[in-house]
């Protein structure tokens, strides 16, 4: 599953307004719903919050990947947000999260969801990629960075 093929430019937010974890999740779900015309915002947010309660998706290295499976979507949807100030996200390493990928998938298939999460985690392990995403200026540059990283690391 190539992220660059799934993410729309309108699902990329280069500067999030959120300052707390709850605000960040709300802002990212809004981004998902507005970009992909998803109607069940409350259901999606509930699924994301339920998953966060099981184990924070603040995985460290400045990355958080809130995600959930829910019956109200019919395929995988993904969005990206960046916070230059960072947000406390209960991350594994205690550091603030600056880069956020949010994913929702239907409940009846697991493969694409697993592949998408695995792909994101594989990219973000590379410091060069993380630094480039933190420094990049616009949505177009972000997509180009992801494409290049996918060619190199996936």
């Amino acid at each position: 599953m190539l992220l660059s093929k799934h993410i729309k430019k309108s699902a990329i937010l280069m500067e999030m307004r959120a300052e707390t974890k709850d605000e960040a999740l709300g802002e990212l779900v809004d981004l998902l719903c507005s970009t992909y015309k998803l109607k069940d915002r409350a259901v999606i947010l509930d699924a994301i919050l339920k998953r966060e309660r099981q184990q924070s998706t603040g995985v460290g290295m400045g990355l958080a990947v809130p995600h959930a499976k829910t019956p109200v979507v019919d395929r995988l949807h993904v969005a990206f947000g960046r916070s230059s100030g960072g947000i406390d996200f209960d991350s594994a390493d205690g550091e603030k999260a600056r880069l956020f990928f949010i994913l929702v998938s239907p409940r009846d298939v697991s493969g694409p969801h697993i592949k998408a999460l695995a792909g994101i985690s594989r990219l973000i392990k590379h410091e060069q990629f993380r630094d480039a995403v933190i420094a990049c200026s616009d949505e177009k540059t972000f997509v180009e960075l992801v494409k290049k990283a996918e060619e190199k690391y996936l």
């Binding site: 998953r51 099981q54 499976k69 697991s110 999460l117 695995a118």
Partner: protein
């Protein structure tokens, strides 16, 4: 000959929030390739297949390659730490929710047919929504052998 006479009643389960590392350890320790996921009341909510677990570690291009004979290793991927993945996945993320189950009152031959059709090594057995057993192809073979009078 009913499933409940031959199903395994001593099986391991995980909850939807069980961390990936614990799921991995259960796979290793049990030697099973299918793990049931249950809620605290024993209700079955999904199954984790070891094939889905392995998906985490495979490069995305693997589906595009028909012949793996010319690949001897996967380079840097083989030396990668999986600490991020361990933080990112819990059992609920890995499980399949659209699963087939059988009732403990169903016949063993039905279990044989369903396991064959689905090409699954074992299948959850339920009473209502509650998981009460697991039935494997080996359990089916034992039941058929018994039926033939080889007790």
């Amino acid at each position: 000959m009913k499933i409940k006479e031959y199903m395994k009643r001593d099986f391991r389960t995980v909850s939807p929030g069980t961390p990936m590392r614990e799921v991995a350890l259960l796979f290793f320790e049990s030697g099973e390739s299918v793990l049931p996921v249950t809620e605290s009341d024993g209700a079955l909510v999904g199954l984790i297949l070891i094939d889905d677990f392995i998906l985490i570690f495979l490069p995305h291009y693997i589906d595009l390659i028909r012949n793996l004979d010319f690949i001897h290793d996967f380079g840097a991927l083989e030396r990668t730490s999986f600490s991020i993945e361990e933080q990112l996945f819990v059992a609920g993320d890995l499980m399949q929710e659209n699963i087939s189950v059988l009732d403990e009152e169903d016949s063993v031959m039905k279990a044989a047919a369903v396991l064959h059709k689905l090409d699954m090594p074992r299948i959850p057995i339920v009473r209502g929504k509650k998981l009460v057993g697991m039935m494997s192809k080996n359990d089916v073979c034992k039941a058929i052998y018994d039926m033939e009078g080889h007790r």
